[in-house]
Subunit: 411 residues, 2 copies
Amino acid sequence: MPQYLKLQPPLIARDHFLLQIPAPHPEIETCATSDSLGRILSEDLFAPHPLPQFSRSTVDGYAVRSAETNGASDSLPAILRLAGEAPMGKVAKQPVLSGEAILIHTGGMVPPEADAVVMLEQTQLTGTDNLEIFRPVAINENIIQIGEDVQTGDLVIPAGRRIRPVEIGGLMSFGVIHVRVHRAPRVGILSSGDEIVSPHESPQPGQVRDINTATMSAIVRESGGVPVDYPIIPDDPEALFEAVSRAHAENDMVLITAGSSASSRDLTSEVVARLGKPGVLVHGVNVRPGKPTILAVCDGKPVIGLPGNPVSALVISGLFARPAIHKLLGCTDPVYHPAISARLTATVSSLAGREDWVPVVLQPSNQGYLAEPIFFKSNLIFNLVRANGLLHIEADATGLAAGEVASIEIL
Amino acid sequence: MPQYLKLQPPLIARDHFLLQIPAPHPEIETCATSDSLGRILSEDLFAPHPLPQFSRSTVDGYAVRSAETNGASDSLPAILRLAGEAPMGKVAKQPVLSGEAILIHTGGMVPPEADAVVMLEQTQLTGTDNLEIFRPVAINENIIQIGEDVQTGDLVIPAGRRIRPVEIGGLMSFGVIHVRVHRAPRVGILSSGDEIVSPHESPQPGQVRDINTATMSAIVRESGGVPVDYPIIPDDPEALFEAVSRAHAENDMVLITAGSSASSRDLTSEVVARLGKPGVLVHGVNVRPGKPTILAVCDGKPVIGLPGNPVSALVISGLFARPAIHKLLGCTDPVYHPAISARLTATVSSLAGREDWVPVVLQPSNQGYLAEPIFFKSNLIFNLVRANGLLHIEADATGLAAGEVASIEIL
C-alpha cells in the first residue's frame, strides 16, 4: 500500500528546507572577470579609487567660467575668446582665463579654472576665436565631478551578487581582471525505476527511455550548479541505497527522480532517511504536479526526491532545487519571477488549498497575449515542449475562468 | 561640427536592419544532446516512433474491463477477482479475463483485454483476491494510449527552436543523443577612443579604463554568440578602418563602441560606410539613451555602432544586437520581455516622440514591488550595477507619475 503523505504548503516547506542547509559551501575559486558571467561573487568589492578619477565633461562644448555666461541670451549672447582645445585622454593643462573658453569633448578632462561646460548647440563660433554663447550655465553644469559615481572605499558590489554584464563592466572600471567566486556546487543526479532505460538503449516493450536525468542536468546547469550524472538504478532498496550514498558522498547536493510506481517512490524516502541527520524534513507538498516530493538535508547536504514526470521535475526544481543551489552558492540576489500578462483561452479549475501549475502556450494577438492552457491526461513530455509559460494558481483560488487575465511565468 | 542625425523610431529601424541580414548563417555543428542547452536546433525533428510506445497506466490501481464496473458504488461495489500483477518494465502478458482485475503501477503496461484502470484509492482488497470497486470507470480511463503524446512522423521540435531543458528531455525520449545545431556566430567587438585604455593598464590622468569590450562580450555570450575581442583603437580614421575591416573579415558580425566624443562617433559611421554594401542603414534612433546608434549590413554581415556609455550599450544591445544574433542563429522563437509590475517611487518625464529607458531599483514592499528610478547626470556604470530593472517609456508618453504602476523589465 502507498504511504499516505502529510502535505505541506510549498512555501512553508521551502523555508523549512532552506533553513537546514548550512550555506554557502565554503570553497572559493579565482576566475578571470571576463569569464565570470553568471558566477557568484564571494567577497565584497570596495572601490580602490574614486570614479571618475578626474572631472569630465558630459557633452561636446566649451569649458567656461560659469559666472561669465550670466544673462546670456539669443539676442544678447555672452562673448568669449576661444583659447584652445582640451585634449582627449590627456591632462587638460591650459587654464580657462577670464573672458576665455576652451573646446572640450564628451569625456574630456575639465581644464583648470573652468567650472561648467556650455553645449556646442548653444553656441556659435564666428571667425577663428570669437565664441557667442546663447544660454547661461550654472556651476558644475555638464560636468561629472571626481567621485560622483563612486567614492574611495564605497561598497560597490556586495558578496553574493550574481555577476551580470554590468558587474563585469564595473569590475573592469577598477582594473579588477580576476575575481573570487563561489565554486559551483556539484549536484548528483539519479533516476530510478525498473521500467527506465538509458536514452542510449532501445527500450523493450514495457520500458521507456530516461528523460529525467538529462532534463534535471540541464536545469541544474541553468541554476548555476554542475550536474553529475549516475547510471539508472533498479527498484531495489540496497542498490538504491548504495547509489544514493555514493552520490551523497561525492557531491554537494543530490537529486533523485523516482520511478513512476508508488513502490518506487516509497523506496526513495526510506533510502533518503538513512543518509544522515536531520534526514527527511518534508514528504509531500500541496502542489500539483509534484505532490510526492521529498525534501531532506543529510549531514549538511540537501537531498531532493522528485516525482518522475517532466512537469513535476520542472515545477519542483523551480520551487526547491534552484533555491537550494542558490543557497549553496551564497547567492543573495532577490529572486524575481518574470512574467507576462495574458488572457486565458479556457477555464482552469483547481482544488482550494492546493497550488496548481498549468503549462500554457502563449500567443500574441491584437488584444495582447493569449494563454492556452495545456491539459494533461498525464504528463506527456511533448505537451511540455509545446509550452512556453506556466500558469500559477494560488492555493486559495478554485480556478480561473476563460477570458480572465493572468500572470504567466515564462519558461 | 557634429553630424546632425535623422532619428528613426527604434522598431522601424530594427525591422529595416533585420530584413537586410541574410539569415541564418549556414554552418551547422553536431553536439551531444546533453550539452545542447541554449543552442538552436538546425533541423526539424520528426517523431521516429509513437510516444508512448505501449498503453500505460497513469495511476496505481487495477486494470479491469470497464463495463464490469458499471454502477459500482460505496454501497454496492463491483466485485472482481485479483488475478495477478502487471510487471514494471516488461510486457504484460496475462490478459484480464471476465470477472478479473490485475494490479498495475503507474507507468506499467496495460494488460490485454483490459480497457481501463481503477485507482487504488477507489478499491478495497479483502482476503487475498477479493477486490471491491466503489466507482465505475469509463473506457480508457487512467490509460495513456499508444501515440497519445506523439504519433510517428509528427513534427515534434521545429528547426529554429532554442533548446531548453524540456527539449533535451523530448530528444532523449526518442534516443536522440546527438543534435544538429547552428554554429554560434562569432561577433567581433571593438572599442575606440583616445581616452580609453585596457582594464589591464593603469589609466593616466585624462584616461579611463575600457568597460565596453567586456560588457558587450558578456551580452554577446548571453545572446548565444561567441565574442571575439580586439585591442582598443585610437581615434584615427585609418587605424579604425584597418581594425574594423579585419574584424569584419574574421567574424559573422561586428560591434563597435565609439569613444565618447562626437568626432570619435562620426569617425565610426564613416568607417562603417566603407566596409561593404548596402552599408549604413540607420544612423540615429529616437531612443534615450542610445541616440547616435549606427545600424549597418556590409556584405551580408551586420555591423552595429554603439555609443560608448554603459546604459546605451545595454539598451541598444537589447534592441538591435541580440535580435541580430538571433537572426544569424536561425532562432525562430518569439521574444518575450519578462517583466514585473511595480509602483514608481518618483515621477519620470520623457519627451513625446522619444522612447526612454530608465534603470530602476526594484524593492519588494507590502504593497507589491516598488521601482525607484535612477536618474543619470550621465551614465555612470555603478548606478547601473545598482539597478535590477529597466523602465520603458513609450514614444507617445510624456512621462509617468510617482505612484503609477509600470511594467519593469528584469535586468
